[in-house]
Protein backbone atom coordinates (compact mmCIF):
# COMPACT_ATOMS: atom_id res chain seq x y z
CA UNK A 1 0.00 0.00 0.00
CA UNK A 2 1.63 3.17 -1.11
CA UNK A 3 1.24 6.52 0.45
CA UNK A 4 3.17 9.38 1.94
CA UNK A 5 5.29 8.25 4.78
CA UNK A 6 5.90 10.83 7.45
CA UNK A 7 6.79 14.42 6.76
CA UNK A 8 8.41 15.75 3.69
CA UNK A 9 11.70 17.61 3.94
CA UNK A 10 11.16 20.08 6.74
CA UNK A 11 13.62 22.53 8.14
CA UNK A 12 13.60 23.23 11.83
CA UNK A 13 14.74 21.73 15.10
CA UNK A 14 15.51 18.01 15.03
CA UNK A 15 12.45 15.95 15.85
CA UNK A 16 12.64 13.53 18.74
CA UNK A 17 12.69 9.89 17.73
CA UNK A 18 9.34 8.19 18.08
CA UNK A 19 8.72 6.61 21.47
CA UNK A 20 9.99 3.09 21.66
CA UNK A 21 9.40 0.29 24.09
CA UNK A 22 12.24 -1.55 25.72
CA UNK A 23 12.98 -5.14 24.75
CA UNK A 24 10.49 -7.35 26.55
CA UNK A 25 10.73 -11.05 27.26
CA UNK A 26 8.17 -13.21 25.47
CA UNK A 27 6.56 -14.59 28.58
CA UNK A 28 5.80 -12.71 31.73
CA UNK A 29 8.43 -12.60 34.42
CA UNK A 30 8.23 -11.50 38.01
CA UNK A 31 8.99 -7.86 37.42
CA UNK A 32 6.17 -7.64 34.95
CA UNK A 33 3.67 -9.14 37.32
CA UNK A 34 4.76 -6.75 40.03
CA UNK A 35 4.60 -3.83 37.68
CA UNK A 36 0.97 -4.59 37.03
CA UNK A 37 0.08 -3.26 40.44
CA UNK A 38 0.96 0.40 40.08
CA UNK A 39 0.22 0.42 36.39
CA UNK A 40 -3.35 -0.64 36.90
CA UNK A 41 -4.11 1.88 39.60
CA UNK A 42 -5.89 4.24 37.22
CA UNK A 43 -7.93 1.38 35.90
CA UNK A 44 -8.68 0.34 39.44
CA UNK A 45 -9.79 3.84 40.29
CA UNK A 46 -12.11 4.00 37.31
CA UNK A 47 -13.54 0.66 38.27
CA UNK A 48 -13.71 1.79 41.86
CA UNK A 49 -15.62 4.90 40.89
CA UNK A 50 -18.20 2.90 39.04
CA UNK A 51 -18.40 0.28 41.76
CA UNK A 52 -18.78 2.75 44.57
CA UNK A 53 -21.50 4.60 42.71
CA UNK A 54 -23.31 1.40 41.99
CA UNK A 55 -23.08 0.39 45.59
CA UNK A 56 -24.22 3.75 46.82
CA UNK A 57 -27.16 3.80 44.50
CA UNK A 58 -28.27 0.40 45.71
CA UNK A 59 -30.00 0.13 42.36
CA UNK A 60 -32.65 2.06 44.10
CA UNK A 61 -34.29 4.16 41.53
CA UNK A 62 -33.43 2.58 38.25
CA UNK A 63 -37.01 2.70 37.18
CA UNK A 64 -38.95 4.79 34.75
CA UNK A 65 -39.50 7.68 37.08
CA UNK A 66 -35.75 8.14 37.14
CA UNK A 67 -35.91 9.28 33.58
CA UNK A 68 -38.76 11.62 34.26
CA UNK A 69 -38.56 15.31 34.64
CA UNK A 70 -39.70 15.79 38.19
CA UNK A 71 -37.17 15.94 40.95
CA UNK A 72 -38.66 16.48 44.32
CA UNK A 73 -36.94 15.13 47.33
CA UNK A 74 -39.90 15.67 49.55
CA UNK A 75 -42.08 13.34 47.60
CA UNK A 76 -39.30 10.89 46.92
CA UNK A 77 -39.49 11.45 43.18
CA UNK A 78 -36.16 11.59 41.49
CA UNK A 79 -36.37 12.28 37.80
CA UNK A 80 -33.15 13.38 36.20
CA UNK A 81 -34.32 14.35 32.76
CA UNK A 82 -34.02 18.06 33.35
CA UNK A 83 -30.42 17.73 34.38
CA UNK A 84 -29.55 15.57 31.42
CA UNK A 85 -31.23 18.08 29.18
CA UNK A 86 -29.35 20.88 30.89
CA UNK A 87 -26.03 19.19 30.35
CA UNK A 88 -26.68 18.72 26.66
CA UNK A 89 -28.23 22.13 26.19
CA UNK A 90 -25.07 23.72 27.50
CA UNK A 91 -22.40 21.38 26.19
CA UNK A 92 -23.58 21.03 22.61
CA UNK A 93 -23.75 24.73 21.73
CA UNK A 94 -20.51 25.25 23.62
CA UNK A 95 -18.84 22.57 21.58
CA UNK A 96 -20.05 24.01 18.31
CA UNK A 97 -18.80 27.46 19.22
CA UNK A 98 -15.56 26.10 20.55
CA UNK A 99 -14.93 24.07 17.41
CA UNK A 100 -15.65 26.99 15.12
CA UNK A 101 -13.50 29.41 17.05
CA UNK A 102 -10.83 26.80 17.62
CA UNK A 103 -10.77 25.99 13.94
CA UNK A 104 -10.41 29.64 13.11
CA UNK A 105 -7.59 30.20 15.54
CA UNK A 106 -5.82 27.02 14.51
CA UNK A 107 -6.02 27.93 10.83
CA UNK A 108 -4.83 31.44 11.54
CA UNK A 109 -1.99 30.07 13.61
CA UNK A 110 -0.74 27.50 11.11
CA UNK A 111 -1.59 29.13 7.83
CA UNK A 112 -1.86 32.85 7.94
CA UNK A 113 0.19 34.21 10.78
CA UNK A 114 3.97 34.28 10.61
CA UNK A 115 5.52 31.57 12.73
CA UNK A 116 6.98 34.07 15.16
CA UNK A 117 3.58 35.50 15.96
CA UNK A 118 1.88 32.14 16.40
CA UNK A 119 4.67 30.91 18.61
CA UNK A 120 4.10 33.90 20.79
CA UNK A 121 0.32 33.80 20.97
CA UNK A 122 -0.46 30.09 21.06
CA UNK A 123 0.92 29.42 24.53
CA UNK A 124 -1.48 32.01 25.88
CA UNK A 125 -4.41 30.27 24.29
CA UNK A 126 -3.19 27.05 25.86
CA UNK A 127 -3.05 28.89 29.16
CA UNK A 128 -6.84 29.02 29.14
CA UNK A 129 -6.74 25.35 30.02
CA UNK A 130 -4.78 25.96 33.16
CA UNK A 131 -7.11 28.46 34.75
CA UNK A 132 -9.11 26.87 37.53
CA UNK A 133 -12.75 26.48 36.83
CA UNK A 134 -13.77 28.38 39.92
CA UNK A 135 -11.94 31.41 38.59
CA UNK A 136 -13.89 31.21 35.35
CA UNK A 137 -16.92 30.92 37.56
CA UNK A 138 -16.37 33.94 39.72
CA UNK A 139 -15.41 36.07 36.76
CA UNK A 140 -18.43 35.06 34.79
CA UNK A 141 -20.68 35.31 37.79
CA UNK A 142 -19.66 38.73 38.99
CA UNK A 143 -18.65 40.45 35.79
CA UNK A 144 -19.88 38.89 32.60
CA UNK A 145 -23.31 37.70 33.67
CA UNK A 146 -24.52 41.09 34.91
CA UNK A 147 -23.34 42.69 31.69
CA UNK A 148 -25.18 40.07 29.73
CA UNK A 149 -28.27 40.41 31.87
CA UNK A 150 -28.40 44.15 31.60
CA UNK A 151 -27.48 44.68 27.97
CA UNK A 152 -27.44 41.67 25.70
CA UNK A 153 -30.42 39.81 27.10
CA UNK A 154 -32.90 42.69 26.98
CA UNK A 155 -31.67 43.49 23.48
CA UNK A 156 -32.25 39.92 22.42
CA UNK A 157 -35.70 39.67 23.91
CA UNK A 158 -36.63 42.83 22.11
CA UNK A 159 -35.12 42.21 18.70
CA UNK A 160 -35.04 38.47 18.41
CA UNK A 161 -38.38 37.74 20.01
CA UNK A 162 -39.74 36.29 16.81
CA UNK A 163 -37.25 33.43 16.87
CA UNK A 164 -38.70 30.56 18.89
CA UNK A 165 -37.13 30.46 22.28
CA UNK A 166 -35.91 34.02 22.38
CA UNK A 167 -39.01 35.54 23.85
CA UNK A 168 -38.87 36.56 27.46
CA UNK A 169 -40.98 34.93 30.12
CA UNK A 170 -41.76 36.04 33.60
CA UNK A 171 -38.73 34.43 35.07
CA UNK A 172 -36.17 34.62 32.37
CA UNK A 173 -34.02 36.28 31.37
CA UNK A 174 -33.12 37.42 34.79
CA UNK A 175 -31.45 40.74 35.26
CA UNK A 176 -28.44 39.16 36.81
CA UNK A 177 -27.78 37.23 33.66
CA UNK A 178 -27.49 33.72 35.01
CA UNK A 179 -28.74 30.87 32.96
CA UNK A 180 -28.01 28.95 29.80
CA UNK A 181 -26.29 31.61 27.70
CA UNK A 182 -23.65 32.46 30.26
CA UNK A 183 -23.06 28.80 30.93
CA UNK A 184 -22.55 28.21 27.25
CA UNK A 185 -20.17 31.15 27.16
CA UNK A 186 -18.09 29.78 30.00
CA UNK A 187 -18.05 26.27 28.63
CA UNK A 188 -16.97 27.52 25.23
CA UNK A 189 -14.00 29.25 26.77
CA UNK A 190 -13.12 26.22 28.82
CA UNK A 191 -13.17 23.78 25.96
CA UNK A 192 -11.51 26.21 23.57
CA UNK A 193 -7.91 25.37 24.50
CA UNK A 194 -8.56 21.69 23.84
CA UNK A 195 -10.17 22.12 20.47
CA UNK A 196 -7.63 24.69 19.40
CA UNK A 197 -4.71 22.55 20.44
CA UNK A 198 -5.94 19.37 18.82
CA UNK A 199 -6.94 21.06 15.57
CA UNK A 200 -3.66 22.92 15.51
CA UNK A 201 -1.76 19.69 15.91
CA UNK A 202 -3.82 18.06 13.20
CA UNK A 203 -3.06 20.89 10.80
CA UNK A 204 0.61 20.91 11.69
CA UNK A 205 0.81 17.21 10.98
CA UNK A 206 -0.02 17.74 7.33
CA UNK A 207 3.23 17.00 5.47
CA UNK A 208 4.90 20.03 4.01
CA UNK A 209 4.97 18.83 0.46
CA UNK A 210 1.34 17.77 0.55
CA UNK A 211 0.41 21.29 1.52
CA UNK A 212 2.66 22.72 -1.15
CA UNK A 213 1.15 20.43 -3.76
CA UNK A 214 -2.17 22.06 -3.10
CA UNK A 215 -0.73 25.52 -3.57
CA UNK A 216 1.20 24.40 -6.63
CA UNK A 217 -2.07 23.57 -8.33
CA UNK A 218 -3.20 27.13 -8.07
CA UNK A 219 -5.22 26.91 -4.88
CA UNK A 220 -5.30 29.74 -2.39
CA UNK A 221 -4.23 29.01 1.18
CA UNK A 222 -7.83 28.83 2.29
CA UNK A 223 -8.71 26.37 -0.45
CA UNK A 224 -5.73 24.22 0.36
CA UNK A 225 -6.67 24.15 4.02
CA UNK A 226 -10.22 23.26 3.22
CA UNK A 227 -9.60 20.71 0.51
CA UNK A 228 -6.36 19.14 1.62
CA UNK A 229 -5.50 19.82 5.25
CA UNK A 230 -8.94 19.16 6.65
CA UNK A 231 -9.15 15.84 4.87
CA UNK A 232 -5.74 14.85 6.04
CA UNK A 233 -6.41 16.00 9.58
CA UNK A 234 -9.85 14.49 9.76
CA UNK A 235 -9.11 12.30 12.72
CA UNK A 236 -7.69 15.19 14.67
CA UNK A 237 -10.82 17.18 14.08
CA UNK A 238 -12.98 14.38 15.42
CA UNK A 239 -10.82 13.91 18.46
CA UNK A 240 -11.03 17.64 19.11
CA UNK A 241 -14.80 17.44 18.95
CA UNK A 242 -15.14 14.49 21.26
CA UNK A 243 -12.62 15.59 23.82
CA UNK A 244 -13.86 19.16 23.76
CA UNK A 245 -17.38 17.87 24.30
CA UNK A 246 -16.24 15.70 27.17
CA UNK A 247 -14.69 18.71 28.81
CA UNK A 248 -17.77 20.83 28.42
CA UNK A 249 -20.11 18.08 29.48
CA UNK A 250 -18.37 17.26 32.72
CA UNK A 251 -17.55 20.75 33.84
CA UNK A 252 -18.88 21.32 37.29
CA UNK A 253 -18.05 24.36 39.33
CA UNK A 254 -17.99 27.15 36.78
CA UNK A 255 -21.34 26.08 35.47
CA UNK A 256 -22.74 25.69 38.96
CA UNK A 257 -21.92 29.29 39.66
CA UNK A 258 -23.69 30.77 36.67
CA UNK A 259 -26.43 28.51 35.59
CA UNK A 260 -28.88 29.66 38.17
CA UNK A 261 -30.45 26.43 39.24
CA UNK A 262 -34.10 25.74 38.70
CA UNK A 263 -35.64 22.32 38.50
CA UNK A 264 -37.96 23.11 35.68
CA UNK A 265 -37.73 22.74 31.96
CA UNK A 266 -36.04 25.68 30.33
CA UNK A 267 -38.83 27.86 29.02
CA UNK A 268 -36.61 29.82 26.69
CA UNK A 269 -32.97 30.17 25.78
CA UNK A 270 -32.13 32.35 28.73
CA UNK A 271 -33.53 29.97 31.31
CA UNK A 272 -31.83 29.03 34.48
CA UNK A 273 -31.50 25.35 35.02
CA UNK A 274 -29.11 22.66 36.19
CA UNK A 275 -26.65 20.43 34.48
CA UNK A 276 -26.02 16.98 35.83
CA UNK A 277 -22.67 18.01 37.22
CA UNK A 278 -23.82 21.26 38.77
CA UNK A 279 -26.81 19.65 40.40
CA UNK A 280 -24.70 16.85 41.79
CA UNK A 281 -22.25 19.30 43.18
CA UNK A 282 -24.74 21.48 44.94
CA UNK A 283 -27.01 18.87 46.39
CA UNK A 284 -24.83 16.23 47.96
CA UNK A 285 -24.80 18.29 51.09
CA UNK A 286 -28.42 17.98 52.01
CA UNK A 287 -28.92 14.55 50.54
CA UNK A 288 -28.77 12.69 53.78
CA UNK A 289 -31.88 14.39 55.08
CA UNK A 290 -34.14 12.88 52.47
CA UNK A 291 -34.71 9.19 52.04
CA UNK A 292 -33.54 7.90 48.73
CA UNK A 293 -31.91 11.12 47.64
CA UNK A 294 -28.37 9.93 48.20
CA UNK A 295 -29.04 6.85 46.12
CA UNK A 296 -30.63 8.90 43.41
CA UNK A 297 -27.67 11.23 43.30
CA UNK A 298 -25.34 8.28 43.05
CA UNK A 299 -27.31 7.04 40.08
CA UNK A 300 -27.16 10.44 38.50
CA UNK A 301 -23.42 10.26 38.95
CA UNK A 302 -23.43 6.89 37.21
CA UNK A 303 -25.25 8.30 34.23
CA UNK A 304 -22.82 11.19 34.02
CA UNK A 305 -19.88 8.83 34.33
CA UNK A 306 -21.25 6.53 31.67
CA UNK A 307 -21.75 9.31 29.16
CA UNK A 308 -18.31 10.70 29.91
CA UNK A 309 -16.66 7.31 29.46
CA UNK A 310 -18.32 6.77 26.12
CA UNK A 311 -17.41 10.21 24.85
CA UNK A 312 -13.81 9.83 25.97
CA UNK A 313 -13.44 6.36 24.50
CA UNK A 314 -14.72 7.58 21.17
CA UNK A 315 -12.50 10.62 21.32
CA UNK A 316 -9.34 8.67 22.07
CA UNK A 317 -9.98 6.35 19.17
CA UNK A 318 -9.12 9.20 16.87
CA UNK A 319 -5.86 10.05 18.52
CA UNK A 320 -3.05 8.04 17.07
CA UNK A 321 -0.29 9.18 19.38
CA UNK A 322 0.20 7.61 22.76
CA UNK A 323 -1.26 10.61 24.46
CA UNK A 324 -2.16 14.06 23.43
CA UNK A 325 0.27 16.65 24.59
CA UNK A 326 0.60 17.26 28.24
CA UNK A 327 -1.13 20.55 28.37
CA UNK A 328 -2.57 21.30 31.77
CA UNK A 329 -6.09 20.06 31.92
CA UNK A 330 -5.89 17.71 28.98
Amino acid sequence: MGGPQGSGPTPGPPQPLPPSSPPRPPRWNASQWISLVPALVPAAVVAGVVASLLAASQFHNLGTSFWGSAWNQQTNTYGILIFVAGSFLTAVPALILSMVIGLGIAIASTTYLPARVSRLLDPFVDLLAGIPSIIYGIWAFALVAPIFGSTLAPWATMHLALIPGFKATATSPSANGYGLPISIFVLTLMSLPITTLLIRDALKAVPRDLWESGLALGATRWETVRRVSMHHGNRGLWSAAFLGFGRAFGETVAVAMVIGGATAYPANVYAQTYTMASFMFENLDGALSYPGMLQALAELALVLMAITLVVNLLGRRFVSALYTQEVAGL
Binding site: Y112, W139, G250
Partner: protein, 302 residues
Amino acid sequence: MAVASVGGLGSENLLREGGLALQWRIGFDKWIGRLLPLLYVVALLPIADMIYWIAVHALPTLTWATLTDTSVTNTHSLAVPIVGTFYIMVVATVVAVLLGLFGGIATAEFLPESVAGYARTAANLLAGTPSVVIGYFGYFAFVLYFGWGLNLIAGAVTLAFFMLPYLFRTVDLAYTSVPRAIREAAYGQGARPTQYLLRVATPIAFPQVLNGVFLAMAIGVGETAPLFLTLQQGILIPTGLFQPASFLTGQIWENYTQPQGSGGLALAFQAAFILLIVVLGLNLVVRLISGRFRKRLEGLFQ
Protein backbone atom coordinates in the same frame (compact mmCIF):
# COMPACT_ATOMS: atom_id res chain seq x y z
CA MET B 1 -3.31 15.85 -27.87
CA ALA B 2 -5.47 18.94 -27.97
CA VAL B 3 -8.37 19.35 -25.69
CA ALA B 4 -11.04 21.99 -25.63
CA SER B 5 -10.08 24.55 -23.04
CA VAL B 6 -11.87 24.60 -19.80
CA GLY B 7 -13.52 27.98 -19.60
CA GLY B 8 -12.86 28.65 -15.96
CA LEU B 9 -9.14 28.32 -16.35
CA GLY B 10 -8.87 31.78 -17.80
CA SER B 11 -6.68 33.21 -20.46
CA GLU B 12 -2.95 33.13 -20.64
CA ASN B 13 -2.72 36.79 -19.85
CA LEU B 14 -1.57 37.02 -16.29
CA LEU B 15 -2.27 40.67 -15.85
CA ARG B 16 -5.74 40.86 -17.23
CA GLU B 17 -6.72 37.67 -15.59
CA GLY B 18 -10.21 36.72 -16.49
CA GLY B 19 -13.00 36.12 -14.15
CA LEU B 20 -14.59 37.60 -11.14
CA ALA B 21 -14.47 34.10 -9.78
CA LEU B 22 -10.72 34.10 -9.56
CA GLN B 23 -10.52 37.57 -8.07
CA TRP B 24 -13.10 36.49 -5.57
CA ARG B 25 -11.08 33.44 -4.57
CA ILE B 26 -7.96 35.47 -4.09
CA GLY B 27 -9.80 38.23 -2.29
CA PHE B 28 -11.55 35.80 0.02
CA ASP B 29 -8.28 34.23 0.95
CA LYS B 30 -6.78 37.60 1.70
CA TRP B 31 -9.67 38.73 3.85
CA ILE B 32 -10.05 35.58 5.79
CA GLY B 33 -6.36 35.82 6.48
CA ARG B 34 -7.02 39.14 8.13
CA LEU B 35 -10.16 38.15 9.99
CA LEU B 36 -9.22 34.77 11.42
CA PRO B 37 -6.36 36.06 13.54
CA LEU B 38 -8.87 38.35 15.23
CA LEU B 39 -10.36 35.25 16.81
CA TYR B 40 -7.33 35.16 19.04
CA VAL B 41 -9.00 37.98 20.88
CA VAL B 42 -11.84 35.68 21.87
CA ALA B 43 -9.34 33.49 23.63
CA LEU B 44 -6.92 36.05 24.95
CA LEU B 45 -9.17 38.85 26.09
CA PRO B 46 -10.94 36.74 28.74
CA ILE B 47 -7.68 35.67 30.32
CA ALA B 48 -6.37 39.16 30.47
CA ASP B 49 -9.65 40.45 31.75
CA MET B 50 -9.96 37.73 34.36
CA ILE B 51 -6.56 38.43 35.76
CA TYR B 52 -6.99 42.17 35.72
CA TRP B 53 -10.46 42.19 37.14
CA ILE B 54 -9.73 39.78 39.97
CA ALA B 55 -6.65 41.74 40.87
CA VAL B 56 -8.63 44.96 40.91
CA HIS B 57 -11.18 43.50 43.29
CA ALA B 58 -8.71 41.71 45.47
CA LEU B 59 -5.83 44.08 45.94
CA PRO B 60 -7.39 47.18 47.47
CA THR B 61 -8.41 45.48 50.69
CA LEU B 62 -5.65 42.90 50.74
CA THR B 63 -3.49 43.34 53.79
CA TRP B 64 -0.73 41.33 55.30
CA ALA B 65 -3.14 40.31 58.02
CA THR B 66 -5.44 38.80 55.46
CA LEU B 67 -2.69 36.43 54.56
CA THR B 68 -1.25 35.62 57.90
CA ASP B 69 -3.63 36.19 60.73
CA THR B 70 -4.67 32.84 62.07
CA SER B 71 -6.64 34.05 65.04
CA VAL B 72 -10.08 32.55 65.25
CA THR B 73 -11.81 35.87 65.62
CA ASN B 74 -10.59 37.28 62.34
CA THR B 75 -13.15 36.41 59.71
CA HIS B 76 -11.29 38.23 56.98
CA SER B 77 -8.19 36.20 56.93
CA LEU B 78 -7.12 33.70 54.41
CA ALA B 79 -4.29 32.36 56.47
CA VAL B 80 -6.14 29.24 57.53
CA PRO B 81 -7.28 28.32 54.03
CA ILE B 82 -3.83 29.01 52.67
CA VAL B 83 -2.21 26.69 55.15
CA GLY B 84 -4.99 24.21 54.65
CA THR B 85 -4.48 24.25 50.90
CA PHE B 86 -0.79 23.76 51.45
CA TYR B 87 -1.26 20.76 53.69
CA ILE B 88 -3.82 19.22 51.37
CA MET B 89 -1.54 19.71 48.40
CA VAL B 90 1.40 18.14 50.18
CA VAL B 91 -0.53 15.01 51.04
CA ALA B 92 -2.27 14.82 47.70
CA THR B 93 0.92 15.36 45.73
CA VAL B 94 2.81 12.74 47.69
CA VAL B 95 0.11 10.16 47.11
CA ALA B 96 -0.33 11.08 43.47
CA VAL B 97 3.38 11.07 42.78
CA LEU B 98 3.92 7.70 44.41
CA LEU B 99 1.13 6.10 42.46
CA GLY B 100 1.77 7.97 39.26
CA LEU B 101 5.51 7.56 39.23
CA PHE B 102 5.52 3.84 39.74
CA GLY B 103 2.53 3.35 37.54
CA GLY B 104 4.03 5.39 34.74
CA ILE B 105 7.40 3.68 34.89
CA ALA B 106 5.74 0.30 35.07
CA THR B 107 3.71 1.06 31.98
CA ALA B 108 6.61 2.55 30.09
CA GLU B 109 9.21 -0.06 30.90
CA PHE B 110 7.81 -3.31 32.11
CA LEU B 111 4.34 -4.01 30.95
CA PRO B 112 3.81 -5.92 27.72
CA GLU B 113 2.40 -3.70 25.03
CA SER B 114 -0.98 -5.35 25.10
CA VAL B 115 -1.62 -4.51 28.72
CA ALA B 116 0.12 -1.16 28.51
CA GLY B 117 -2.54 -0.04 26.06
CA TYR B 118 -5.26 -0.75 28.57
CA ALA B 119 -3.40 0.96 31.36
CA ARG B 120 -3.03 4.06 29.24
CA THR B 121 -6.64 4.04 28.18
CA ALA B 122 -7.66 3.81 31.81
CA ALA B 123 -5.45 6.77 32.64
CA ASN B 124 -7.03 8.77 29.85
CA LEU B 125 -10.50 7.83 31.02
CA LEU B 126 -9.69 8.82 34.55
CA ALA B 127 -8.35 12.14 33.34
CA GLY B 128 -11.58 12.76 31.52
CA THR B 129 -13.78 11.97 34.50
CA PRO B 130 -15.66 14.99 35.79
CA SER B 131 -14.31 16.38 39.04
CA VAL B 132 -17.69 16.06 40.71
CA VAL B 133 -17.78 12.34 39.98
CA ILE B 134 -14.36 11.94 41.57
CA GLY B 135 -15.72 13.89 44.50
CA TYR B 136 -18.65 11.54 44.79
CA PHE B 137 -16.28 8.59 44.63
CA GLY B 138 -14.21 10.08 47.41
CA TYR B 139 -17.29 10.67 49.47
CA PHE B 140 -18.73 7.22 49.11
CA ALA B 141 -15.46 5.34 49.30
CA PHE B 142 -13.43 7.24 51.84
CA VAL B 143 -15.83 9.32 53.85
CA LEU B 144 -18.55 6.73 54.16
CA TYR B 145 -17.27 3.29 53.37
CA PHE B 146 -13.79 3.58 54.87
CA GLY B 147 -15.32 5.70 57.57
CA TRP B 148 -12.75 8.45 57.50
CA GLY B 149 -15.30 11.20 57.70
CA LEU B 150 -15.11 14.64 56.17
CA ASN B 151 -11.55 15.63 56.81
CA LEU B 152 -8.14 16.39 55.44
CA ILE B 153 -7.17 12.85 54.60
CA ALA B 154 -10.37 12.11 52.73
CA GLY B 155 -10.04 15.30 50.75
CA ALA B 156 -6.38 14.92 50.00
CA VAL B 157 -6.64 11.33 48.85
CA THR B 158 -9.61 12.13 46.67
CA LEU B 159 -7.69 15.01 45.17
CA ALA B 160 -4.72 12.70 44.69
CA PHE B 161 -6.81 10.39 42.58
CA PHE B 162 -7.90 13.34 40.51
CA MET B 163 -4.29 14.38 39.94
CA LEU B 164 -3.05 10.86 39.36
CA PRO B 165 -3.78 10.38 35.66
CA TYR B 166 -1.90 13.53 34.68
CA LEU B 167 1.17 12.38 36.54
CA PHE B 168 0.80 8.86 35.28
CA ARG B 169 0.82 9.74 31.64
CA THR B 170 3.49 12.39 31.96
CA VAL B 171 5.81 9.88 33.58
CA ASP B 172 4.89 7.27 31.02
CA LEU B 173 5.63 9.67 28.19
CA ALA B 174 8.83 10.83 29.81
CA TYR B 175 10.29 7.37 30.05
CA THR B 176 9.00 6.24 26.71
CA SER B 177 10.59 9.23 25.09
CA VAL B 178 14.07 8.19 26.06
CA PRO B 179 15.70 7.73 22.67
CA ARG B 180 15.70 4.16 21.53
CA ALA B 181 19.37 4.35 20.68
CA ILE B 182 20.30 5.21 24.24
CA ARG B 183 18.10 2.55 25.73
CA GLU B 184 19.45 -0.13 23.46
CA ALA B 185 22.98 0.94 24.16
CA ALA B 186 22.40 0.57 27.88
CA TYR B 187 20.79 -2.84 27.64
CA GLY B 188 23.37 -3.87 25.13
CA GLN B 189 26.03 -3.19 27.71
CA GLY B 190 24.30 -5.64 29.97
CA ALA B 191 22.48 -3.27 32.25
CA ARG B 192 19.65 -4.63 34.33
CA PRO B 193 16.36 -2.76 34.28
CA THR B 194 16.87 -1.12 37.66
CA GLN B 195 20.32 0.03 36.70
CA TYR B 196 19.08 1.34 33.42
CA LEU B 197 16.27 3.15 35.13
CA LEU B 198 18.33 4.72 37.83
CA ARG B 199 21.37 5.74 35.89
CA VAL B 200 20.26 6.28 32.37
CA ALA B 201 16.55 6.83 31.97
CA THR B 202 15.70 8.84 35.05
CA PRO B 203 18.22 11.62 34.52
CA ILE B 204 16.88 12.01 31.01
CA ALA B 205 13.25 11.79 31.98
CA PHE B 206 13.58 13.87 35.09
CA PRO B 207 12.74 17.30 33.71
CA GLN B 208 9.60 15.99 32.11
CA VAL B 209 8.60 14.22 35.30
CA LEU B 210 9.23 17.36 37.29
CA ASN B 211 7.08 19.24 34.85
CA GLY B 212 4.37 16.70 35.28
CA VAL B 213 4.45 17.14 39.02
CA PHE B 214 4.09 20.89 38.75
CA LEU B 215 1.33 20.59 36.21
CA ALA B 216 -0.53 18.15 38.39
CA MET B 217 -0.14 20.49 41.31
CA ALA B 218 -1.44 23.36 39.24
CA ILE B 219 -4.46 21.29 38.40
CA GLY B 220 -4.95 20.08 41.93
CA VAL B 221 -4.71 23.40 43.66
CA GLY B 222 -7.47 24.82 41.50
CA GLU B 223 -9.96 22.05 42.01
CA THR B 224 -13.06 22.49 44.09
CA ALA B 225 -15.39 19.55 43.76
CA PRO B 226 -13.12 16.70 44.87
CA LEU B 227 -12.39 18.56 48.09
CA PHE B 228 -15.67 20.22 48.74
CA LEU B 229 -17.56 16.99 48.81
CA THR B 230 -15.14 15.14 51.01
CA LEU B 231 -13.87 17.72 53.36
CA GLN B 232 -15.30 19.92 55.99
CA GLN B 233 -13.89 23.37 56.17
CA GLY B 234 -12.96 24.70 59.56
CA ILE B 235 -11.62 27.81 61.18
CA LEU B 236 -8.54 26.24 62.63
CA ILE B 237 -5.38 25.07 61.04
CA PRO B 238 -5.59 21.30 60.86
CA THR B 239 -3.26 19.56 63.26
CA GLY B 240 -3.84 16.06 62.06
CA LEU B 241 -5.00 14.13 59.08
CA PHE B 242 -8.44 13.52 60.42
CA GLN B 243 -9.28 17.12 61.02
CA PRO B 244 -11.32 19.59 59.02
CA ALA B 245 -9.34 21.82 56.74
CA SER B 246 -10.16 24.94 54.82
CA PHE B 247 -8.91 25.48 51.35
CA LEU B 248 -8.76 28.39 48.93
CA THR B 249 -11.23 27.22 46.32
CA GLY B 250 -13.64 26.35 49.08
CA GLN B 251 -13.39 29.88 50.37
CA ILE B 252 -14.23 31.24 46.97
CA TRP B 253 -17.22 28.97 46.71
CA GLU B 254 -18.52 29.93 50.13
CA ASN B 255 -18.14 33.62 49.63
CA TYR B 256 -18.82 34.44 46.04
CA THR B 257 -22.50 35.05 46.60
CA GLN B 258 -21.90 37.57 49.31
CA PRO B 259 -23.25 41.03 48.58
CA GLN B 260 -21.24 43.55 46.65
CA GLY B 261 -18.80 45.53 48.65
CA SER B 262 -18.95 43.20 51.59
CA GLY B 263 -15.90 41.82 53.25
CA GLY B 264 -16.96 38.32 52.35
CA LEU B 265 -16.99 38.99 48.66
CA ALA B 266 -13.64 40.67 48.89
CA LEU B 267 -12.36 37.58 50.59
CA ALA B 268 -13.55 35.50 47.68
CA PHE B 269 -11.67 37.71 45.27
CA GLN B 270 -8.60 37.66 47.37
CA ALA B 271 -8.64 33.90 47.54
CA ALA B 272 -9.13 33.86 43.78
CA PHE B 273 -6.22 36.20 43.36
CA ILE B 274 -3.88 34.09 45.42
CA LEU B 275 -5.05 31.02 43.58
CA LEU B 276 -4.36 32.67 40.25
CA ILE B 277 -0.87 33.62 41.30
CA VAL B 278 -0.12 30.11 42.43
CA VAL B 279 -1.51 28.53 39.28
CA LEU B 280 0.15 30.97 36.91
CA GLY B 281 3.37 30.66 38.83
CA LEU B 282 3.33 26.89 38.52
CA ASN B 283 2.58 27.14 34.83
CA LEU B 284 5.44 29.54 34.42
CA VAL B 285 7.79 27.15 36.17
CA VAL B 286 6.65 24.42 33.84
CA ARG B 287 7.39 26.55 30.82
CA LEU B 288 10.83 27.44 32.10
CA ILE B 289 11.69 23.82 32.73
CA SER B 290 10.39 22.88 29.30
CA GLY B 291 12.56 25.51 27.72
CA ARG B 292 15.77 24.39 29.35
CA PHE B 293 14.83 20.79 28.85
CA ARG B 294 14.41 21.25 25.13
CA LYS B 295 17.81 22.82 24.83
CA ARG B 296 19.42 20.07 26.84
CA LEU B 297 17.79 17.37 24.85
CA GLU B 298 18.61 18.73 21.45
CA GLY B 299 21.97 17.15 21.80
CA LEU B 300 20.49 13.75 22.49
CA PHE B 301 18.19 13.50 19.55
CA GLN B 302 20.43 13.24 16.52
